[in-house]
Symmetry: C2
Subunit: 138 residues, 2 copies
C-alpha cells in the first residue's frame, strides 16, 4: 500500500556529519526543525554545516528512515520513525510524538477516492494536542 521506496538502496558514502545527524535524531523523540537540529549539533560539539544538515535529512527522508511534517508556518520538522506506514499524535508545545495506526481510515481513504474516480491515492492523517507533561506546566 505504501510507496515502493525505490530510492532505498541508493549507496551513499559514509561521513561523520551524516552519522551525527542520525545519532542526534535517535536521541530525540519529537519532531524538530532542521534549524533546531543544526543548533543542537553545534551545542553537542559535532559541528555540521547547515546545508549538510538539510542534505542529510533529505537523504534520510528519501530512504524512509525519517518522517517530515509541515507546521502551520510551513517550516518542516523531522523525526526518526519506524519504516512502516503510520500516523502521528504530536504535542503542539514540545513536539513529543507517538506513532499510531488506524486501519479503518486506510480503507476509508481508498474507498472515498475510488468513489470519486481518483487514482494513485495517498493520504495523511495527523493528530495534534497538548501532552500531559506540557499541560501540567501550563
Amino acid at each position: 500500500m505504501s510507496l515502493p521506496d525505490q530510492a532505498e538502496g541508493t549507496t551513499r558514502r559514509p561521513s561523520r556529519q551524516r552519522s551525527a545527524v542520525l545519532a542526534l535524531l535517535d536521541g530525540l523523540d519529537g519532531f524538530r526543525s532542521a534549524q533546531d537540529l543544526h543548533a543542537l549539533l553545534r551545542q553537542r560539539g559535532d559541528s555540521v554545516g547547515l546545508a549538510t544538515v538539510y542534505r542529510a535529512l533529505q537523504a534520510l527522508v528519501d530512504d524512509g528512515q525519517v518522517d517530515v511534517l509541515r507546521g502551520d508556518d510551513g517550516e518542516a520538522s523531522y523525526r526518526r520513525c519506524s519504516t512502516g506506514h503510520h500516523h502521528h499524535l504530536v504535542c503542539r508545545s514540545c513536539g513529543r510524538t507517538v506513532e499510531v495506526a488506524d486501519p479503518p481510515v486506510e480503507r476509508w481513504a481508498a474507498r472515498v477516492a475510488a468513489e470519486h474516480g481518483f487514482a494513485d491515492v495517498q493520504h495523511q492523517l495527523e493528530v495534534f494536542g497538548i501532552c500531559s507533561d506540557c499541560a501540567a506546566r501550563g
Copy 2:
C-alpha cells in the same frame, strides 16, 4: 469539536480588493496558492496588490470561509470551503477538490489522544490522488 472561531464576528471595512478575491475564489473549485490567485486577478483586470491578497486570504481563513493547505514544498494553498468541519480529496495535478467527511475518524482521533493523555485535540486528514480528468490526459 472544531475551534470556536472566535474571530468570526470581526467587522471589516468592505473594499473592492477583498470582494475581488472572494469572487475569484468562488469561481474556482481547487486549492490555489496566493501567488496564483494574485496572477489570476491581474489577468482578470481586477488588479490587487500582492500584500493585499495575502491579507484578504488571511482574513477569510480567520473567518472560517477559506481553508488552507500546505503543499510538500511548504507553499500555502487556499480554497473557498463550506464552514463546517470536513476533509479534502485533492488532485495532485490540477488541485480539483472534493469535500469529504469521515465521522469514525473523528471519534478515533479523540480516543487515541485521550488514551495517551493529550488534551486540546485537533486533527487533519487529507487524501491526495489524480482525478479522472487528469488521469485521462496522462
